[in-house]
Amino acid sequence: MSFINYSSREINCKIVYYGPGLCGKTTNLQWIYQKTNPDLKGKMISLATETERTLFFDFLPLALGEIRGFKTRFHLYTVPGQVFYDASRKLILKGVDGVVFVADSQIERMEANVESLENLKLNLAEQGAKLDQTPFVMQYNKRDLPNAAPLEEMKQLLNPGGLPEFEACATDGRGVFETLKAVARSVLRDLKQMSGS
């Protein structure tokens, strides 16, 4: 849910990285954190288990620059991907302005991708939102792995509607910023549309 503060002249938006367990959501945020100018980022918070699996969420505040005299800030969150953390996912999804779905390209994770995408649709619906009306970007992560499924197959399975999509390898940064820019752009366009102009 966007927050416009006229006093500090700031626009704040919330982006959530969604996807099955171990698909690379946290790795996306870590790459963004590592490669962003210190002046533009806040502290990255990871509420994780001892084995570094996300327990509640990761959080990274990011400033993108100014639009019409307003500082544009994005709060990036990840959800815990493991199936049994659904209650936490619902909480983090509240008030979201844009969603990145990080799909795991490994062929044996296709079912987990489909299940997680269905879970996203369900959880958005509980908030009265629909995926096709929410700023959304699909990221096909781990494209570098030898057991990656063919891209066309993944597109048909996960993104038949042809929403914005990117290939990525979050461990070496490929596609990470492209994904972020696309979702941020989509969020701002959506907010502009919602403002009735």
């Binding site: 927050f3 006093s7 919330k14 993108l64 639009i67 544009t72 752009r185 366009r189 907010l191 009735g196």
Partner: protein, 163 residues
């Protein structure tokens, strides 16, 4: 999805700031923070200004969200008051008007009883301010009033990413 976005104007911030600064004094608090339920910091006062307030806001909202989930599990609507006791500093967190979180950090110069008492009054005042903020937002939305977003052009958005 964005119909209920929070819009706060200068005069609202000034009114909130008056309440927050008074609460710091009345409760002998080290710091007072007003946070939106979605984790955005709205206002702060006190001697803790060097604190990472963005993280504080996000974690407080996460805390309220998690205990709100717990409340529903046991058949409560919410747990609107939280108290975390530390060795030196303590945290008193209150959910105001179901939307705003009031965080008070205090040490042994104050007491839980005093903080509770002062928070009750300040919470009532903040509740009124945010009710008006909400009403104003609904009126603006109904009348199609301009927001910073309505002035943004596609070029502005593209320029943000051109660097």
């Amino acid at each position: 999805m964005h119909g209920n976005g929070l819009v706060i104007y200068d005069e609202d911030i000034r009114r909130i700031q008056v309440v927050v600064e008074r609460l710091v004094r009345d409760a002998n608090a080290k710091g007072v923070f007003v946070v939106d339920r979605n984790g955005q910091l709205i206002s702060e006062a006190g001697e803790m200004r060097g604190l990472d307030t963005t993280s504080l806001a996000s974690l407080t909202a996460g805390c309220i969200a998690a205990t709100g989930g717990l409340a529903k599990l046991v058949g409560e609507e919410d747990f609107p008051v939280h108290f975390h006791q530390g060795q030196r500093d303590n945290l008193h967190i209150t959910l105001v008007a179901k939307r705003i979180i009031l965080v008070v950090i205090f040490d042994d110069r104050s007491s839980l009883g005093l903080v509770r008492l002062r928070v009750k009054k300040a919470g009532g005042e903040l509740g009124k301010v945010f009710e008006e903020v909400q009403k104003k937002a609904e009126q603006d939305s109904a009348s199609g009033a301009a927001t910073p977003f309505s002035e943004i052009t596609d070029d502005d958005i593209d320029n943000l990413f051109s660097a």
